[in-house]
């Protein structure tokens, strides 16, 4: 399992702040995103503009996330 966290507009889209996603072996973030998109089709249009963080660190999509980790999906930011 990994813990997936949704931020900003993605929370409305996912209908939750977090969800558990099955993951039995380490996997690149890009592949996890594909699986999440299959589970939550509404994510598709947001994927190109998403940043990802694993365990509180922003990572490229080639980064490998391990079971037990936390993957945060960060849509375009609008602070200030």
């Amino acid at each position: 399992m990994i813990n997936v966290q949704f931020y900003g507009v993605l929370q409305e889209l996912a209908g939750a702040q977090t969800l558990s996603h099955p993951l039995e072996a380490p996997m690149p973030v890009a592949e996890v995103l594909e699986q999440l998109q299959a589970r939550l089709p509404a994510l598709a249009s947001h994927l190109p503009r998403l940043a990802c963080a694993v365990d509180d660190r922003i990572v490229p999509r080639s980064y490998t996330v391990a079971p037990g980790g936390t993957l945060a999906l960060l849509p375009p930011v609008s602070g200030g």
Binding site: Y7, G8, C52, I58, P76, V77, G79
Partner: protein
């Protein structure tokens, strides 16, 4: 230094930041305040909700303060952002820069707020006067796609 907060749900306290950054070597003080305004893109706004990835915001803003100090040679830089529900006129962010001379202080404060807007994982949800609610479109964080 490490226990300074960069994100808080209670109202921002400019006086506390001025006290915290007091510095006898500084002859210039520049403060930028981002303030909730009552309109956006032609629509009336009645309040804002800010949410954030807390751990990342703390890290990003602490690094940005240090970067501003080194890049502009200023004495002090503090940046604090607010989260939660804000009313019109509330401060959403404060940037405080102190430096020996004014040019660096102005430049550093401008850089700090401009950079925060593209690096800090914070999201603004606007409540409009017609009852509708929407997230601002925002700016994609850059780091994620370095290897794609």
């Amino acid at each position: 230094m490490s226990n300074r907060r960069h994100l808080q749900s209670e109202p921002l306290d400019l006086m506390q930041l001025l006290e915290e950054t007091r510095d006898p070597a500084s002859g210039a003080l520049v403060v930028f305040s981002g303030t909730v305004r009552n309109h956006h893109a032609g629509k009336g706004v009645v309040r804002l909700e800010y949410s954030a990835h807390r751990a990342l915001v703390e890290q990003v803003l602490a690094e940005l303060e240090q970067e501003v100090i080194e890049r502009f040679g200023v004495q002090q830089c503090r940046i604090v952002h607010r989260e939660g529900t804000l009313d019109i006129g509330d401060d959403s962010v404060l940037v405080v820069v102190r430096s020996a001379h004014r040019p660096q202080a102005f430049e550093a404060a401008r850089y700090a707020i401009d950079t925060l807007k593209v690096r800090a994982p914070v999201w603004k949800r606007e409540h409009y006067s017609d009852g509708s609610v929407d997230y601002q479109e925002g700016v994609p964080l850059q780091q994620a796609d370095l290897e794609n």
